[in-house]
């Protein structure tokens, strides 16, 4: 199965890496919004300020990973892109509204800061309202992203037949399994954000706040993940079979479980850098588990990566473009994170 590996599979693998980067970076930015929404206790303001400070310089760059995934999809797998955008029109449109509101509201809030306006009270009231929009959109968008992934993983996006509106445009994604994946995505992003924020916080009390939140989120991830796995066995046979009977399944579960336990242990012992690595590994392994379970299908149950692929010349040129782009991109990204995350990392 692995032996037959061509440019189509390589591009698909790179798209998955980009999706992984989006989950680890962009996902954590959405998770930050969740903690803005759930900010509580005496340090409520400080928690929100930390979230804003952490994602401010980087969220736009992190967001581009999603655009890269989409561009790779429509350039290299145009048939798949067309089918996904027809059948997932509704959740994708809703997700876009979430993306627009999240990004705009975050920027609006940052620039209504009380330091700018003379009318102190009024400015911060407006700023707070945008903060709500930012937080609610941050919490809703990952659920919609997860719903789309869930529909894909469930194999519900076969060739659209002549069925009615509901059967074609609603039923495939609005399923218990899809909702499970949506909630799992939300909890994973919130978990990542809380873990990262333990390293961003400079004040010990604030760090404790996010340590507790990370542990709570880890519990929520556990519940959502086991629930989703159960629903997969019932409602997503392909995924369920892959995740339970494939030869690599035990190793994957072992690795995912180990990173989850390591993350919790590290949070417990306040080894935050270890926790960050373990949490990122856990999220990545879940993502790769999904991809492995549906390989070689891009859109199960019928469209393989190979069948959906663009002509070879397009794939090869895109691989060249990716190589050249990476030469510019990676040094830039490293620079960005060095400038803004160095103090945080060495805390």
């Amino acid at each position: 199965m692995i032996g037959d590996f061509g440019p189509a599979e390589i591009v698909a693998g790179i798209a998955l890496v980009a999706l992984n980067a989006y989950a680890l970076l962009g996902g954590a930015d959405f998770g930050g919004g969740v903690w803005d929404l759930l900010a509580s206790g005496p340090r409520r303001r400080a928690q929100r300020a930390l979230v804003a400070e952490a994602i401010g310089p980087i969220w736009e760059a992190n967001h581009v990973w999603l655009i890269l995934v989409i561009v790779l999809l429509f350039t290299c797998f145009p048939v798949a892109f067309a089918r996904l955008s027809v059948m997932l029109h509704i959740p994708l449109s809703l997700m876009l509204i979430g993306i627009v509101l999240r990004g705009s509201a975050f920027t609006f809030r940052s620039h209504y800061g009380p330091s700018h306006g003379e009318e102190h009270g009024e400015a911060s009231a407006v700023s707070e309202r945008w903060g709500r929009v930012f937080a609610i959109a941050s919490a809703g968008t990952p659920v919609l992203l997860g719903l789309c992934v869930g529909a894909l993983a469930a194999g519900a996006l076969g060739t659209p037949g002549r069925a009615g509106f509901r059967e074609t445009f609603v039923v495939p994604w609005l399923t218990p399994f899809g909702i499970g994946v949506g909630l799992l995505t939300l909890t994973l992003f919130a978990f990542l954000a809380a873990v990262y924020l333990t390293l961003e916080a400079r004040e010990p009390a604030l760090r404790e706040d996010f340590r507790r939140r990370a542990l709570g989120a880890a519990a929520a991830v556990f519940v959502a993940a086991s629930g989703t796995l159960g629903l997969a066995l019932l409602g997503a046979p392909l995924m369920g079979r892959g995740l339970s009977t494939a030869p690599w399944a035990p190793a994957l579960h072992l690795a995912t479980g180990t990173s989850a336990v390591t993350a919790i242990w590290a949070l417990w012992r306040r080894r935050y850098r270890v926790a960050r690595v373990a949490a990122a590994a856990q999220v990545s392994l879940i993502l790769w588990g999904w991809a492995l379970a549906q390989y070689p299908y891009l859109i199960p149950p019928d469209l393989t990566i190979r069948a959906a692929a663009a002509p070879r010349i397009t794939l090869v040129l895109v691989l060249w473009a990716l190589a050249l782009g990476a030469l510019v991109l990676f040094p830039s990204l490293i620079y960005l994170f060095r400038v803004f995350k160095r103090q945080a990392g060495s805390a």
Partner: protein, 438 residues
């Protein structure tokens, strides 16, 4: 409203909204970098204040541009899945490159906006330049993809599918250069002149306000040369259209009959039913001369094309007249301003020029919207010129009026908020005299 019309309207609203943010995202960084450079060289703190304010404006507009651009990349599939199914492999290449340019822009804008106290002045300015360069490249790649829809090259269309695909040849399509040039100049002209107009307004009342004087000088430095060059690039574009898309040219000019020595029509209203353009001022031989550099050249009229291949003539003609008319005004005002600057005159003393700049302020954006109407509506009924019809590309999803209305409402609301924020945070006049420069 049919689903096709709803889909077209949603695309038009999304593009029309995004393009303003994209243009400012391309040109505004130049203003902010020039201001920062002047501050670094002279120590004049008013330029630093300007750089800060323009950076803040760029931040707001870039963020909205980034998210509305994301919407567009999805909408290509959400609204036109059949188009993307066939075109993706041919024209995805510039989008991939644009992805990286946009990535670079986002990275260095983050560094620029949040890095004032974290990196050296030299590195900070360099980050600004990186934003400038990657911003232009982002725009270039996206426009190249659009140009391909007007001049599809790099494949053969056999039995309803593309074969022998050559993505490089598709990028090198003949519309690419004229469109890229026209759009890039438009970004600088529109942004430069809107900023110039905004600062010319308060200078009418307080001509010695040091803040607005400096802002005006930087804005004109960027906007005026672009506005002066734009008619030349427009001429290049029109000649491309004359050669490659004669039906679009005929609609732009309200030319119904095929004739030699065709006149140039200024204004007027094309009557599709009667097959003539009424109330236009006609300049004899003008169109033949401009389009083909020969007063007796034959210009194809709409009658040369089957009726179902006509674009909506009145809309295209009217939009073209608006673009050319306002663009000409912008070029003239800019030429006067540049001449006065070259003669080292004190611009704020010329109240007439200030008033003209205020009037010209919104024109660049109106021109751009009109220009895109000419390009996009003028290409109808085709989504890929002479290859695929727009009606054949639309999604089978019913009820498209709902997303159209939702996204329109969302964008209207965002537009109001952005305008208000820019007024609050960027444009509101600070009281600054020459003493503040020290």
């Amino acid at each position: 409203m049919t689903d096709l019309l709803a889909a077209r309207s949603q695309m038009a609203v999304s593009l029309g909204f995004h393009i303003i943010f994209a243009m400012v995202g391309i040109a505004m960084p130049v203003l902010m970098v020039v201001a920062e450079r002047r501050w670094q060289r002279s120590g004049d703190r008013i330029y630093l204040e300007l750089a800060h304010r323009w950076a803040k404006g760029t931040a707001i507009l870039f963020a909205v541009g980034a998210v509305s651009g994301t919407v567009l990349s999805f909408e290509l599939g959400l609204l036109w899945p059949t188009f993307m199914e066939h075109a993706g492999a041919i024209i995805g290449m510039p989008f991939s490159l644009e992805g990286f340019a946009f990535f670079t822009e986002a990275v260095f804008l983050g560094v620029y906006l949040y890095g004032w106290d974290r990196i050296s002045p030299r590195a900070h300015l360099a980050a600004g330049w990186a934003v400038v360069v990657s911003g232009v490249l982002s725009g270039v790649f996206v426009v190249v993809a659009n140009a391909w829809m007007n001049a599809p090259t790099g494949f053969r269309w056999v039995d309803g599918r593309a074969v022998d695909i050559d993505p490089i040849a598709a990028m090198m399509n003949p519309a690419a250069f004229p469109q890229v040039l026209h759009m890039t100049l438009a970004a600088y002209a529109a942004t430069g002149l809107v900023v110039a107009g905004i600062h010319a307004w308060p200078l009418l009342r307080q001509p010695r306000n040091a803040f607005h004087r400096r802002a005006l000088s930087v804005a004109l430095l960027i906007g005026a040369p672009a506005a002066v060059l734009q008619p030349i690039s427009g001429d290049l574009s029109a000649r491309f259209v004359a050669h490659w898309q004669p039906a679009k040219l005929a609609a732009m000019e309200g030319q119904f009959r095929t004739e030699r020595g065709a006149p140039l029509r200024v204004g007027g209203w094309p009557d599709e039913a009667a097959g003539k353009t009424r109330y236009a001022i006609e300049i004899p031989y003008g169109l033949s001369l401009l389009a083909f550099m020969d007063p007796n050249a034959e210009v194809k009229g709409l009658e040369a094309f089957p009726r179902e291949h006509w674009p909506p003539v009145a809309i295209v003609h009217a939009a073209f007249q608006v673009m050319v008319g306002l663009g000409t005004f912008m070029a003239l005002v800019s030429a006067v301003a540049l001449w006065l600057m070259w003669r080292r005159r004190d611009l704020p003393q010329h109240r007439c020029l200030l008033r003209a700049l205020v009037v010209a302020a919104p024109m660049g954006f109106i021109c751009t919207e009109a220009g895109w109407i000419v390009t996009e509506v003028g290409r109808q009924p085709w989504i890929v010129y002479r290859v695929m019809k727009t009606a054949d590309a639309v999604t089978p999803m019913p009820g498209l009026i709902v997303p159209f209305l939702v996204f329109t409402a969302l964008y209207c609301a965002l537009g109001v908020v952005v305008a208000w924020l820019l007024y609050q945070q960027v444009l509101r006049s600070p009281q600054m005299s020459e003493e503040d420069a020290g």
